[in-house]
Symmetry: C2
Subunit: 460 residues, 2 copies
C-alpha cells in the first residue's frame, strides 16, 4: 500500500486542528512509537504521532489522513507480538494511550472504557465493585483494552471463560472517513441488524479506530485450587488434557515443555523439575467442595495419562507460585535472545503431534524453540529464540517460524489463536484462507476503507 503514502503530508494543518501536545513530530519522541513488542527491524518512520485524548481527536486525525491519503497505524499500548502496531513509513501513528477513562456500572454490570485503559486497570476497577472482567492475555498488566478488542485477545482463562469478543457489548468506532458510529451498547443481547460489532472485534484496526468500549462484567470467580503434574513427554500431558476436557471445566490448563521449564529455572530457581518432559498447571475455580472434586478428576486424568508426579493444592499462595512460574516463561525466554513469538492453535487432539513436529523443526533449523501452551484450547506459543545481531541465525529462525505456521495448518489448525496476523503472518494467511475467503475479506475491508488508509500492511 506504499502508493497511499503522501509525500510531504501537511502535518502543520493537523497540528493547528488539534490542541497543543496532541500532535508530536519530535524524532526522539516519535522513535518511541515506531516499534511494538515484535521489534520488527523494518519498522517505518511516522510523519507524526497523534496522542488522541478524545474520539473527536481521532476523528480529526483520520479525516486529515483520508484527505491527504496518509496511512494510519493505530496503536494502543504497543504490546503486539505480531507487528500489529509497527509503524509504516510516512504514516500517521495514532495512539489511543491517553484515552484511559473507566466507568463501572455495578447494576448493569458493565465497564465503559477508553481504548487506552489497561486490561489490569479494568480488572481492578471491576473488582472494587465485586465484579470481574475475565479476559487475561499474558500482557494484561501492560496491554490496553483497545488493543485487546482489536485483536480479540485471549489468555489463560479462555479455557473456561472465553475470549475478548465474548465480553464486548458495545463499541464506538471512527470509520476510515472520520465518521463516528456506535455499535451495540448497554444490553447483554442484541441482534438488530448485521452483527457489525463482532466484525470489528479482532479486525486489527483495519476497519476503524475504536474509541470507547462497553465491556460485560461477571461476578468475581471463586478461589481456585491448583493442580501440578509432571510428565515424561508432552504427548502424555496432552492426553491428560484431552481426557479432562469432557469431564470438567478447568479455569486454567497450561502446559510448559522441557525447554520452557528450564528457561524459567535459568532465570530464577523456582524448584521446577528440570528433567521433566512437560509440566501441566491447571486450576479449578468450582465453588465450595466441588473444587476438590474437579481437582480429583483432573488428578485422575493425569495419573491415567502417565504423570510422574501429581500434586494438588487448595492453598492459594502455593497455587500462585506455580501460576507465577507459568507467567515467568515469557520473560525467561526474552532474556535468552531475540524472540519470534508464535501463536498457533490446533484441535486439542493434535497437541502432541504439533509439539513433536515443533521439536523436529528446532532440530532441523538448529534453533531453540521453547513451547508453552494454553493447552485446554490447543493454543501453543512456540517461541523461536535467536542471537540478536546474528543475521544468519535470524534467517534460520525466520525459516523455523514459517515451518511452525505450516505445522498448524497440517494439524487442521490456525496460524494465530489470539495474537492476530499483524505483519508477521501475512504470507501464511494466504496458506490458511483460500482465495474465495480472502476475496470476501477484501470486499469487506474495501467496503469500509475504500482508500486503504487504515493499518496498511496489517492482515494483508
Amino acid at each position: 500500500m506504499e502508493d497511499t503514502v503522501a509525500q510531504g503530508a501537511p502535518v502543520e494543518l493537523l497540528r493547528t486542528a488539534l490542541p497543543d501536545g496532541v500532535v508530536v513530530t519530535d524524532p526522539a519522541v516519535v522513535e518511541g512509537y515506531r516499534h511494538d513488542w515484535s521489534r520488527l527491524p523494518d519498522a517505518g518512520w511516522p510523519v507524526a504521532v497523534v496522542r488522541a485524548e478524545s474520539a473527536a481527536h481521532v476523528q480529526t486525525a483520520v479525516r486529515w489522513a483520508a484527505e491527504h491519503r496518509v496511512p494510519v497505524t493505530v496503536r494502543g499500548a504497543g504490546t503486539s507480538l505480531a507487528g500489529g502496531a509497527t509503524a509504516v513509513d510516512g504514516c500517521l501513528l495514532l495512539s489511543t494511550e491517553r484515552m484511559t477513562a473507566i466507568e463501572i456500572d455495578p447494576v448493569d454490570r458493565t465497564a465503559v472504557v477508553g481504548p487506552g485503559a489497561l486490561n489490569a486497570a479494568v480488572k481492578d476497577a471491576a473488582a472494587a465493585h465485586g465484579l470481574w472482567y475475565p479476559p487475561d492475555p499474558g500482557s494484561f498488566r501492560i496491554s490496553s483494552i483497545g488493543g485487546n478488542v482489536a485483536t480479540n485477545a485471549g489468555g489463560i482463562c479462555c479455557v473456561k471463560y472465553g475470549v475478548t469478543t465474548d465480553y464486548v457489548q458495545g463499541i464506538d468506532v471512527v470509520l476510515a472517513d472520520g465518521r463516528l458510529i456506535t455499535l451495540g451498547g448497554r444490553t447483554v443481547k442484541d441482534v438488530a441488524g448485521l452483527p457489525l460489532l463482532k466484525l470489528f472485534v479482532g479486525s486489527e484496526g483495519t476497519l476503524g479506530v475504536i474509541t470507547r468500549v462497553v465491556l460485560r462484567l461477571v461476578p468475581q470467580p471463586h478461589p481456585a485450587g491448583t493442580l501440578v503434574a509432571y510428565f515424561d513427554t508432552p504427548r502424555d500431558a496432552a492426553r491428560a488434557v484431552v481426557a479432562m476436557g469432557s469431564r470438567v471445566r478447568p479455569s486454567m490448563l497450561e502446559l510448559m515443555d522441557s525447554a520452557s521449564i528450564n528457561a524459567v529455572e535459568d532465570l530464577r530457581a523456582m524448584g521446577l523439575d528440570r528433567d521433566a518432559g512437560a509440566l501441566l498447571v491447571g486450576q479449578s475455580d468450582a465453588p465450595g467442595g466441588a473444587r476438590a472434586g474437579e481437582l480429583a478428576v483432573m488428578t485422575e486424568c493425569c495419573e491415567a495419562a502417565g504423570a510422574t508426579t501429581v500434586f494438588a493444592t487448595d492453598d492459594p499462595v502455593e497455587g500462585d507460585l506455580f501460576l507465577e512460574a507459568r507467567r515467568a516463561v515469557g520473560p525467561a525466554i526474552e532474556v535468552r535472545g531475540a524472540a519470534l513469538h508464535e501463536d498457533i492453535c490446533v484441535p486439542v487432539h493434535q497437541l502432541p503431534t504439533a509439539m513433536a513436529r515443533i521439536e523436529e523443526i528446532a532440530a532441523t533449523f538448529q534453533v531453540e524453540i521453547p513451547v508453552f501452551a494454553h493447552a485446554g484450547d490447543g493454543n501453543l506459543h512456540p517461541v523461536i529464540v535467536h542471537r540478536p545481531g546474528d543475521e544468519e541465525g535470524r534467517a534460520r529462525a525466520l525459516q523455523a517460524f514459517d515451518a511452525v505456521l505450516q505445522v498448524a495448518l497440517e494439524c487442521g489448525g490456525t496460524i494465530t489463536g489470539e495474537h492476530g496476523v499483524g505483519r508477521t503472518k501475512r504470507a501464511a494467511l494466504l496458506d490458511q484462507l483460500d482465495a474465495d475467503v480472502m476475496d470476501v475479506g477484501r470486499r469487506v475491508r474495501s467496503a469500509l476503507d475504500p482508500l486503504g488508509i487504515l493499518n496498511p500492511g496489517v492482515l494483508w
Copy 2:
C-alpha cells in the same frame, strides 16, 4: 427489492440440474413453505421450493437464482417469529430441512451438523457422549441449527451460558454467487483474518446460505436446583434480578407477569398463584453443595426485594414442573388468539420501567400483552394478542407492537434480543440504528450480495 423478481423464471432449467424430488412446484406442497411462525398475511408465492440435500444442491440453486435474478428466501425449520423465513413473491424458497447430519467428535468436543438438524437432536447426540450443546431457544425442539445460527438464537440458558455465536466454531456457507467457503473450523480459538465467521452468525440469511456448522460442546451441566418466587409487582421481581446478578450466576432466571401466569393457568391448571403480580423462576447448576449456597443467595435477594412467597427445591422433578410452567407460556398465549411476538432487550436495571410502559400500552390500545422474560438478560417477550379476523383489532395490535419497540429504544435497549429483525421490525431498525450504521451495514451486504438476491425484505 421487487425489481429483482424475474417474471417467468426458468424453473425447468433448475429442475433438470437437480435430482428428482429436490425441486418442487406443486402448489399444495409450496403452500406449506410460504409462511413461518409469524404467519404474516402478506406472505408471497415462491416460483419453486428447493429441498436441498447437500451443499452442492444449494450452490446449484443459488447460481440459478443469481443468473436469473430470482430472489432467494432461505428457510430452516420455518419457526421464525419475525418473518425471517416468510416467502416473497416470485422467490426461490431454499429449504435446508433435509440436511440433518450430526457427527459428534468427543475428543475435540465438537458437533459437525447440517443446517437442517434440529437443536434438540444436536443436544441429544451430544448427551450420548456426555457432552452438552447449551443454546436453548424456546423453539429448541422444533427449530433448526441453520436457523439458530442465522439468527444468533438465544434462550433460557443464555444468562449463564451465552448465545449461539458463542458456540459456533466454524461454518460452510454458500455465497450469493454460488461459491462455497469455509470459515473457522476445528480450533476453539482462531483470529486469522477478519472475523468473518462472526459476521455470518446472526446475518439472517442475507449474506449467504449456511450448509454446515461446527459447534463447540462442553461437559454436561450439573443437576440444577430451582427457586420460585412470587411478587406483588414486576418491579419487585426486577429488583431481585438486579441484586442477584452481581453475586451469583444463575443458570436460568425467568420472569412471568400476571397475564402470563393467568394464561398458563387458563390453559392447564398448574397451581400457579393467579393473584401474583409476577413470578420469578430461577435455577442454579453450581456443583455439589454450592448449589444450595447459590439458591440461598437468590432466596435472600428475592426476600429483600419484597417477595410474597419464596420456595427453593433441589428435587429435579419439582423444579421441572416450574420450568414446564414457564415453557407453557408460549402455547398458552397462542391459544388466546393471533399473536405478535416481541423480543425487546433492555439494560437489566430498566426491566421495571419497560414492564410498566408495556402495561400502559396494553391499556392505551386495548390489547392483551402478556409478558414473559429472560429476566437475567433484560430480554422481554411481550406478546400482543388479538382476535383472528378482527381487522380493527389487528390494526390496534400493530400499533401496540410499534409502541413496544419504541419502549425498548427509550430504555436504551434493542428492538430484538434473539429473534432477529426479519420482516416485522424493519421499520423500527431505522429508529434504532443511525444512518451511518445503516450505511455500514448496507455496504457490507452489497459487498457480499451485489445483486441483492439473498433474503430480500429481511433486515432492510
